[in-house]
């Protein structure tokens, strides 16, 4: 055995790795001021019991029920609008964010005379990618706060934030899916004289269908959770009532709203799973 193999098989290798991992976990716990006594000490347990007692039974006054119901409908609408407009935005961004449509690969002309057009395509590609990454990277709650400033309090700001954030995520995911497509059927279409626009609809979209559907349903399940807290920054949905109840110590109303959130999220998960099975 040579030296490299012996080094790779150092007997302490596993121990060193484990020690490193423990050190990282300990450091991280120290940074978040992890305190086991606050959680499980006598005061901690007592505080939990008190909160639980106040949440239960949930308040069922007509005003609270009305808030919970309209909040649920609004949250559901936010998640649907955010997801569907995200799909549209993603489909718009993806062909430009993908490498194999305009930048390189068998569909792209490599001849020297096309250099000007290629530089233009490359610039658009880089710009769209940056844009999609920015939408994806900025936390959606921060986007929502920005839109609250721009269009005022309410669900419209939340819908914009959710749609743009989802569009950024989808633009990136779809672009990756496009780059992994088998180029041969696309080249066959190109050889019949099809334009890139026609290749997109006849060759790429049909091949992308399963990936598009499964990304969409997965993201809808994420978005219903995100829509539930958009109200914390005044952008509509159940989150608004949750935050108001928390801020004004209306514990039993808070219980109702939390229950409504739970029911809504579970219902969307179940529906999404069904639709996914039916369509894929």
């Amino acid at each position: 055995m040579n030296a490299a193999v012996l080094r790779a098989r150092h007997p302490w290798r596993g121990l060193i790795f484990l020690g490193g991992l423990l050190a990282v976990v300990w450091l991280a716990a120290w940074w978040v001021e992890f305190d086991i006594r606050a959680l499980f000490g006598r005061d901690g347990v007592e505080a939990f019991r008190k909160v639980g007692e106040r949440l239960w039974p949930p308040k069922l006054s007509s005003e609270v029920l009305h808030n919970a119901l309209t909040g649920m409908v609004q949250t559901l609408a936010l998640s649907i609008v955010g997801t569907l407009f995200g799909v549209l935005l993603g489909l718009l961004l993806a062909p430009f964010a993908a490498r194999t449509v305009f930048v390189e690969g068998p569909l792209v002309d490599r001849r020297p005379r096309g250099r000007g057009a290629r530089l233009g395509h490359k610039a658009v590609h880089v710009g769209v990618r940056l844009c999609a990454n920015a939408l994806r990277t900025i936390p959606y709650l921060i986007l929502a706060m920005l839109f609250v400033f721009m269009v005022g309090l309410g669900p419209f700001a939340g819908a914009l934030a959710l749609a743009l954030h989802t569009g950024g995520v989808f633009g990136r995911l779809y672009a990756q899916a496009i780059d992994e497509l088998d180029p041969r059927p696309l080249l066959a279409l190109q050889a019949t004289g099809a334009s890139r626009f026609q290749i997109w609809f006849y060759g790429m979209l049909p091949a992308l269908r399963p990936a598009l559907l499964s990304y969409t349903f997965y993201r809808w399940e994420v978005n219903i959770r995100e829509a539930a807290v958009l109200g914390f920054v005044g952008a509509g949905g159940l989150g608004y009532h949750i935050q108001f109840a928390l801020g004004t110590f209306h514990w039993s109303a808070l219980g109702t709203y939390l229950l409504a959130t739970l029911v809504l999220v579970l219902a969307v998960d179940a529906l999404s799973a069904r639709l996914r099975k039916a369509l894929l």
């Binding site: 059927p185 019949t192 004289g193 099809a194 334009s195 026609q198 006849y202």
Partner: protein
């Protein structure tokens, strides 16, 4: 109609074509034979304006490959139909939509979208007619990825016929069908090409099919034209010798 001069094409360090020269007249039918790796598929990709040669000139009906771009190139591409060796259908589209896509070069954006969503009765009837000719009309609405290899082959042929092109390139079009079907498909291809005055180039690896259906045979070996002769001047022994050692003469000149 086709003029190739000194065509060279490399893929990285591999030279697929090394100086191919060929002339084909309008309405001619010829077989392209040669072992796999001889450069037949690359030559087809040059002929249908998918690949540009690294060196040499290619003219199709006076249109020089290195000179056309954009819409002008689309217009010349739609005059050339290709039946690809691996069929290259869009798996998740129906047979109908795959055959329809043969006409994309003639359609604008709106017409392409309309035919994808709701093809006109006339278009469906036309596709059905072509599918009947290749013997697979019952698969009109079947998804292409659910067809067998031989069925895909026939859909690929139907797409090329539906394109209504002046030149048909067929890369091993009978490789995945049984011998009886191979004969009937080659009859169909040569007959329709003759009836409609189309030029036809078919690559084959079965010497007897090449001799039976084509009046001219071109042998491609190692990226070069090894021979180019009328079939009557090419004996069975010479063709057998070519398949064995890349040259039609026993001395290997």
């Amino acid at each position: 109609m086709i003029q190739l001069q000194g065509i060279e094409r490399r893929f990285g360090s591999v030279a697929a074509l090394r100086g191919v020269a060929l002339e084909v007249q309008e309405g001619e039918q010829l077989a392209l034979v040669g072992p796999s790796g001889a450069g037949k598929t690359t030559l087809f990709n040059v002929l249908n304006f998918t690949l540009l040669p690294d060196a040499g000139t290619y003219r199709f009906d006076g249109v020089e490959a290195a000179e056309v771009q954009g819409d002008a190139r689309r217009e010349v591409r739609r005059r050339i139909a290709t039946i690809h060796q691996s069929h290259d259908l869009v798996g998740r589209l129906s047979t109908l939509k795959n055959v329809l896509s043969g006409r994309l070069g003639y359609w604008g954006r709106m017409e392409a979208l309309r035919n994808l969503v709701a093809p006109s009765r006339a278009a469906v009837a036309a596709v059905h007619g072509v599918l009947e000719r290749v013997g697979i009309a019952e698969k009109l609405d079947e998804r292409a990825d659910r067809l067998s290899g031989g069925q895909k082959q026939r859909v690929a042929i139907a797409r090329a016929l539906f394109q209504d092109a002046e030149l048909i390139l067929a890369d091993e079009p009978v490789a995945s069908v049984d011998p009886a079907r191979a004969v009937s498909l080659l009859e169909l291809l040569t007959q329709t090409a003759r009836d409609d005055g189309r030029t036809l180039i078919v690559s084959l690896h079965q010497a007897e099919l090449a001799r039976r259906f084509f009046p001219r045979i071109v042998g491609l070996h190692d990226g070069r034209v090894a021979f180019d002769r009328p079939t009557e001047e090419l004996s069975e022994d010479e063709l057998a010798a070519f398949f064995q050692n890349g040259s039609p003469s026993p001395s290997g000149s």
